[in-house]
Symmetry: C2
Subunit: 482 residues, 2 copies
């Protein structure tokens, strides 16, 4: 089902900011500033005491606007929120985001206020994100309700990863990190107390969203477990969902309960539920996005046989360890394949698996070895470690390597995903980021790359189990072409 | 025992480069260029076919030099190496590094060449690093035999971490990464085939080295297991040793054997040996240096009770999970301590553990909470998550926080180590790096910080067991003052 009701949150043509402020540092000021930075639609600051805010004409109330905005963002103090929502409902607004805190999370009085707010939105058939949240950021439309000061907060570019976060501060920190790391995002949603729209709604929307190739979530607790499970189960045969669930331990659960009031629940139950529903579980922010980056750029794997193709011997050994630790195979190659590799590699190279082209290698050694491995029928994934720093590797390596890999994958029945490792500093990461721009996710260490490979292998199995592998591939490649 | 015989490798007054080359890209050229970049002593290029190399007067042989160099670095092809070593021995050189490959690692012929080389160095009482290695880098003296092109290779500044690597390419990649990350190093040694100087020798030297606070190692295989164990056991009561041992898995061991010819040995034996000898085992490059950075900057912990002090609730929950996963305690605080915290924090703050000062906090909330926690007697370590991006946190936070922490630690019987988490982007990492410069190691994620805390806790126990805790603290703090 396409969730048309959520579209105004992500692609509104006009946005009202109820509680826009002229005072730097205030939420209603910084939020408006961030919104104005990227959003190209019409913005209406609502402030009864101002003529203009940040150069935009201000209006005394939502009722005095020249049009009904598609989206109303509310940042006034909690006690004034139900009334603001009422006015939005009266003029026909269909989507509101309540940033303000002071609701369920502060105790019985706040909970009563939240109940009132929900009553209002039900009355008018509106949908609500929040309260007590950071809201949304959508690079494609420029909608942005993050209220951290623009000087301190980075925003990532458009990309195939959607991120849903129960924690607002953590969500904003992740956006900031993603901007620095160059991780592209399709949608960010911090839903706070999720008085209306929750994880299940968002999964339903993102499942059909052509801009989203992979869904990531930070979750502390789920109220409606059945709905969440159902939404997960319906989503994972279509798109991978990676979940970072905190409050896993006894002490962590206690912490979660004083943070969002979430009952973290038995972790064993969550683990079983994720496994049953085909969601990938991540155990930290780095894992969450390391895995997401692989899904964003590479197809799933059709088996668990991994070739390690390396310029550095030691890193090849560590990669083999890391893959084996996760139950993946780094198989010996057939005599035939070894002979083919020996023919094209340097005499000092090691044509087994890991295929170690050595620090004396040139571009063509990596490229020819990759092609032989891909056509061998003996492996399902390649982890390559190009060591851009050695003298024989040229600045053209990425371009030429990736051209060949794409050609060969085009000819194969089933594509072979490629994952990269780039241990090194500035020069290395200049080229590692170039490779990412061309479609190969790169990791600082073998251990992180191995986790990404494991996710591609497991998800490939899941898709086959559901008979949706071919369909997934078609959608994945056409989405990459957009 | 102070290993005077190793000093010429790290602090020579003059260095000869046998095989210095005028041709860019050649090892003998790039190595000389890197050496000239940092080293302030006298450099003698040896090249019978050149008058000068890179602007330095060249000499036809080591015998024609105006003085006996403290160190000879040999980069000529393998078959010419024993003769070059012989000449160095004749003029009285005491230390040689053989960078050239083509020895034991290539088969029986190379092994014979290596045997000859060892014969020569024994005859003259010389010491040898290599062959088939990247050699040494010592920021303090500027000695540098790394031969990766200077445009592609970064070098870290001086610091308290020594790094010994069996793999040259991985070693160079780590230096390059450390330069980008801002990790300071005291000594780097890539010993290659370790025909003479091995892990045990280097441990013996570094144990007494006043510039080294923590020793890190990348090891694929150890020949003399007893000597290695003995050296580890004698070192760990004095300084922490963190070992990244690869070839852990069956496939990894096979890979190691074709890389360095190392018999990786049973991993269970290594694990038991590390445990018995008090070495910390790391399972990847990031772990290795995450842990090393903690030892470089902070004292060991006297117990396993950890306080989490956070601006972001979600990150506090994840930190609690990560600590609990490793068997560390995040204990409830006493009513008395909770009351003290409540008094200084905002009403919406959570004065339990995690202590969540919330996104509305100001500098003083973090500072006062830290002081209360440190003086409570209820915790042994603090993990703080300052969230530099929120509006109430000022650019002075680090300076003021660290000043108070140092004062309080000065008054306590036993110091409380502080470890930081900074999830975020450019603004956040500008301040995270500032904090590191002031002595608090900062990590991108709670999971990485937790591993560092675990190492501080385990090592504190180890020192107590050996009765060397007080002695360690004295040496640690006086080394920080240098």
């Amino acid at each position: 089902m396409v969730r048309e009701d959520l579209k105004p949150f992500f692609f509104p043509e006009s946005v009202a900011v109820v509680g826009a402020s002229r005072k730097p540092g205030k939420v209603g000021h910084e939020l408006l500033r961030n919104l104005m930075r990227f959003y190209k639609g019409r913005i209406y600051p609502i402030n009864p005491k101002a003529e203009e805010v940040l150069g935009l004409k201000a209006y005394p109330s939502i009722k005095s606007l020249p049009e009904t905005p598609d989206l109303a963002v509310i940042v006034v103090p909690a006690p004034a929120v139900p009334q603001a929502a009422e006015e939005a409902g009266e003029v026909g607004v269909k989507a509101i985001i309540v940033i303000s805190g002071g609701f369920k999370e502060v105790g019985p009085e706040g909970a009563e206020l939240e109940r009132k707010l929900v009553e209002v939105i039900r009355k008018y058939g509106m949908r609500l994100i929040g309260p007590n949240c950071v809201g949304v950021y959508v690079p494609k439309s420029g909608v942005n309700t993050v209220f951290l000061p623009a000087e301190r907060q980075g925003f990532p570019p458009h990309g195939g990863i959607a991120f849903i976060s129960q924690s607002g501060a953590f969500g904003a920190a992740v956006l900031d990190w993603a901007a620095m790391r160059g991780v592209g995002m399709s949608k960010f949603v911090s839903y706070g107390n999720k008085a209306d729209i929750d994880d299940a709604d968002l999964l339903e929307y993102l499942r059909e969203d052509p801009d989203t190739r992979v869904i990531t979530m930070y979750v502390e607790g789920v109220e409606d477990g059945r709905a969440f499970m159902r939404a997960l189960k319906e989503t994972t045969p279509v798109k991978p969902v990676i979940v970072l669930k905190s409050g896993r331990t006894e002490a962590g659960a206690r912490a979660a309960s004083s943070h969002t009031g979430s009952l973290a629940g038995s972790d064993a139950v969550y683990s079983a539920a994720f496994k049953q529903s085909g969601a990938v579980r991540a155990y930290g922010m780095e894992e969450l996005f390391d895995i997401a980056m692989a899904f964003d750029k590479q197809p799933p794997a059709i088996g668990d046989r991994v070739a390690v193709l390396t310029v550095g011997g030691g890193s090849g050994v560590m990669t083999t360890d890391a893959l084996s630790d996760l139950g993946l195979k780094v198989p010996k190659l057939s005599d035939e394949t070894v002979a083919k590799l020996r023919k094209v590699l340097l005499p000092i190279a090691s044509p087994y698996n890991p295929v170690d082209v050595t620090g004396s290698a040139r571009d063509e050694h990596l490229i020819q070895a990759a092609e032989i491995l891909m056509r061998s029928g003996e492996i399902d994934v390649i982890v390559w470690l190009p060591y851009y720093m050695v003298p024989g590797i040229s600045p053209n390596l990425n371009k030429e390597f990736i051209k060949v890999v794409k050609e060969v994958n085009g000819e194969l029945d089933k594509p072979i995903p490629i994952i990269g490792v780039a241990t090194g500093g500035e020069y290395t990461w200049k080229y590692a980021k170039e490779a990412e721009g061309m479609g190969i996710p790169m990791y600082l260490s073998p251990e992180r790359a191995a986790l990404a490979v494991k996710a591609l292998v497991d998800y490939g199995k899941w898709l086959k189990l559901h008979g949706t592998y071919e369909e997934y591939l078609n959608r994945f490649y056409s989405s990459l072409k957009q």
